[in-house]
C-alpha cells in the first residue's frame, strides 16, 4: 500500500465517518411517534351540509357557524358556514365527530354527529336554536 493510498484511506475514513456520525446523531435526536410521513397516498373526500336556525316562524340559514370534524386519531378539520348556511370540509377517510358551534353558544340538534367517511358525504346537517 503506497503513501497515496494510505492518505486517501485516512481522508475517506475521517470525512466519511464524520458525515455518518453527524447524520446518525441528527436521526437519533428526533423522535416524535405522533408524526410521520405519508407512505401510502390517502384519499380525500368532501363532507358537506347545511346549518340552519329554527326561529319562531320558520328557519333561516346559519352563517358563520364553525363546523369541526375530529377524527379518532385527533386530526381536526374546521370550516365556517357561508351566508347560505352551507359548509364543506375536505377530510381523509375515517370516522369523525362533527360538531357545530357559534358565537351565541346556540344549542344544535344533533349536538354532534358521528360519520364514517369512505366517500363524499352530503346532508350532514344541523339545526340550531339560538340561546
Amino acid at each position: 500500500m503506497n503513501k497515496r493510498n494510505v492518505l486517501t484511506s485516512i481522508f475517506l475514513l475521517i470525512f466519511g465517518f464524520a458525515i455518518l456520525a453527524l447524520q446518525t446523531n441528527k436521526a437519533m435526536a428526533y423522535r416524535d411517534p405522533s408524526t410521520g410521513p405519508l407512505t401510502n397516498p390517502i384519499s380525500y373526500f368532501t363532507v358537506s351540509g347545511s346549518v340552519i336556525y329554527k326561529l319562531t316562524r320558520g328557519y333561516v340559514p346559519a352563517a358563520n357557524v364553525t363546523v369541526t370534524a375530529k377524527s379518532q386519531s385527533g386530526t381536526t378539520y374546521t370550516t365556517v358556514t357561508g351566508n347560505d348556511g352551507f359548509y364543506s370540509l375536505t377530510v381523509d377517510g375515517g370516522t369523525y365527530l362533527v360538531r357545530p358551534a357559534d358565537a351565541f353558544k346556540s344549542i344544535f340538534m344533533p349536538a354532534q354527529r358521528i360519520i364514517e367517511v369512505f366517500s363524499n358525504l352530503t346532508r350532514v346537517n344541523f339545526v340550531g336554536i339560538k340561546s
Binding site: 447524520q23 436521526a27 408524526t35 401510502n40
Partner: protein, 388 residues
C-alpha cells in the same frame, strides 16, 4: 514513460490477476446489502425500519471505500471500465449536490429529512455502490440466499404487526416497500441456473410474491409483477428481448393513467401529489429545491395550490422522476434520466434478462410510491450492472 492507454491496460491486467479473492468478498458484501439489508430493524430515530438500514448501508459503503482505496486494484479497474460519459454524469450529480449547498442548508442537503435520511450523502453512497458493487455466480446468481430472503419476507410479513389500514409491512415498515422487495428478489431465484430444473422452487419464487401482494394490498406491485411476468412470458415465447422489454415498459407507462381514470376518491391523492410535485419543481426549475428537501418543497407548493396536502406530512413525490425534478430540477432530472436510459440500453446489450426483469418491477414500484432505502439499493445496483 507509460502513456495513459498503457497505464489503463496495466491497471486492468492487475485487476484480472490479483483480485479474485477481493471480487469474492465484494460479491458477498453486495449479496448482503441486496438480500439481508431488508431485515435490519433497530429502534433508533424516527423509523426503526428505515433509519438503521440507511446507516448500515452508508457504513458499508464508507468502510468499503476506505478498504478499496487501499486496494487500488479493484477501484481503478472498475473506474477504468466505466465509460467517460457515465463518469461525467456521476460527477455531475455529485457537483449538483455541492452546488445546492451554496443555496440551501448544507445539513439538510447532506442528510435529508429525519424520516428517510435521503439526502446528498446517501445519493453519493448509492453512486459509489453502483460502481463498486458486483454480480457473481458464487452467491448472488446462485439463488440460494435470494430464496432464503423471499422466505424471510413472507415470514416477517406474518410476524410483524400490520399497518394502520391492516396491510402487511414485514421488516420494511411499509406495505409497498415489502411488495417492491419481493418483486426485486424473485427474479434472482427464477433465473438461477441452480434451480433451472426444479419447478417447485420456481413456483415458490412466484407464489411468494403473489401472496405478499395479497397481504400488502399493493396495487402498484400488481402492475410491477404483471409487467415482469409478461416480459418473462414473452421471452419464453422467443419474442426478442427488445420487443419484450418495450411491451413491459408500455404496461408500466399505461398504468400511469390508472390514478386519473379511477373513480374520484379511489386513488385521487396520487394525481394530487404529482400535481403538487410539478408545482414544487417549477419554483426552482433549473437546479431544483435541493436534495433531501422534498418535504419542505411539497408543503410550500401545497399551500400555493391550497390543496389537501397542507394537512399531511408528505416527504416524497411518489414517483422517482418527479422526486428528481423536485430536488434537482431540469439538471438533476436530465442527469438521472440519461443514466437510467443508458443503463437500460447497457442491460439490453449485455442480454441481462434477469436484471431487466428486476428493473421492470422497480420501475413500476418507483413510479407510484416513495423510494425506500431497500428499493434504492436494488435500483442503483441494477443501474450499475448496465453502466459499469
Amino acid at each position: 514513460m507509460l502513456t495513459l492507454s498503457e497505464l489503463r491496460v496495466n491497471a486492468t491486467l492487475v485487476v484480472v490477476k490479483a483480485t479474485a479473492g477481493e471480487h469474492r468478498v465484494l460479491e458477498r458484501v453486495s449479496a448482503a446489502l441486496l438480500f439481508l439489508l431488508p431485515f435490519v430493524v433497530f429502534p433508533i430515530g424516527q423509523s426503526p425500519f428505515e433509519i438503521p438500514k440507511v446507516i448500515i448501508f452508508e457504513l458499508a459503503i464508507v468502510g468499503g471505500m476506505v478498504i478499496l482505496s487501499g486496494q487500488w486494484t479493484i477501484l481503478s479497474g472498475k473506474l477504468v471500465k466505466t465509460p467517460s460519459t457515465i463518469k461525467a454524469l456521476y460527477i455531475g450529480i455529485f457537483l449538483l449536490g455541492i452546488f445546492q449547498m451554496a443555496f440551501y442548508s448544507p445539513s439538510q442537503i447532506l442528510f435529508g429529512n429525519v424520516f428517510r435520511l435521503q439526502g446528498a450523502f446517501l445519493l453519493w453512497c448509492l453512486i459509489l455502490w453502483s460502481i463498486i458493487s458486483t454480480d457473481g455466480d458464487r452467491v448472488i446468481s446462485r439463488g440460494k440466499i435470494a430464496l432464503g430472503a423471499l422466505g424471510g419476507l413472507f415470514i416477517s410479513s406474518l410476524l410483524v404487526g400490520l399497518s394502520q389500514d391492516g396491510r402487511a409491512v414485514g421488516t420494511l415498515g411499509e406495505p409497498n416497500t415489502l411488495a417492491a422487495t419481493a418483486l426485486t428478489i424473485w427474479p434472482f431465484v427464477w433465473f438461477a441456473k441452480h434451480y433451472e430444473k426444479q419447478p417447485f422452487v420456481k413456483l415458490m419464487a412466484i407464489a411468494i410474491p403473489v401472496i405478499l401482494l395479497g397481504l400488502t394490498g399493493s396495487r402498484s406491485a400488481v402492475i410491477g409483477l404483471g409487467s415482469q411476468l409478461v416480459f418473462v412470458g414473452l421471452l419464453h415465447q422467443k419474442i426478442s428481448l427488445v420487443k419484450s422489454l418495450v411491451i413491459g415498459i408500455i404496461i408500466v407507462i399505461l398504468s400511469y393513467l390508472g390514478p386519473f381514470l379511477m373513480p374520484r376518491g379511489e386513488l385521487e391523492s396520487r394525481p394530487l401529489i404529482w400535481q403538487t410535485a410539478v408545482t414544487a419543481g417549477l419554483a426552482h426549475p433549473i437546479i431544483g429545491n435541493g436534495f433531501g428537501r422534498t418535504q419542505e418543497s411539497l408543503y410550500k407548493a401545497s399551500w400555493d395550490l391550497t390543496n389537501a396536502l397542507r394537512f399531511q406530512v408528505v416527504d416524497s413525490s411518489h414517483n422517482i422522476f418527479l422526486d428528481w425534478w423536485v430536488q434537482g430540477g431540469l439538471v438533476g432530472l436530465g442527469l438521472f434520466t440519461y443514466l437510467f436510459i443508458t443503463s437500460t440500453k447497457g442491460l439490453v446489450e449485455k442480454q441481462m434478462t434477469r436484471n431487466l426483469t428486476i428493473l421492470l418491477g422497480l420501475l413500476a414500484m418507483l413510479s407510484f410510491n416513495p423510494a425506500s432505502i431497500v428499493t434504492l439499493v436494488a435500483f442503483w445496483w441494477i443501474l450499475g450492472r448496465g453502466l459499469v
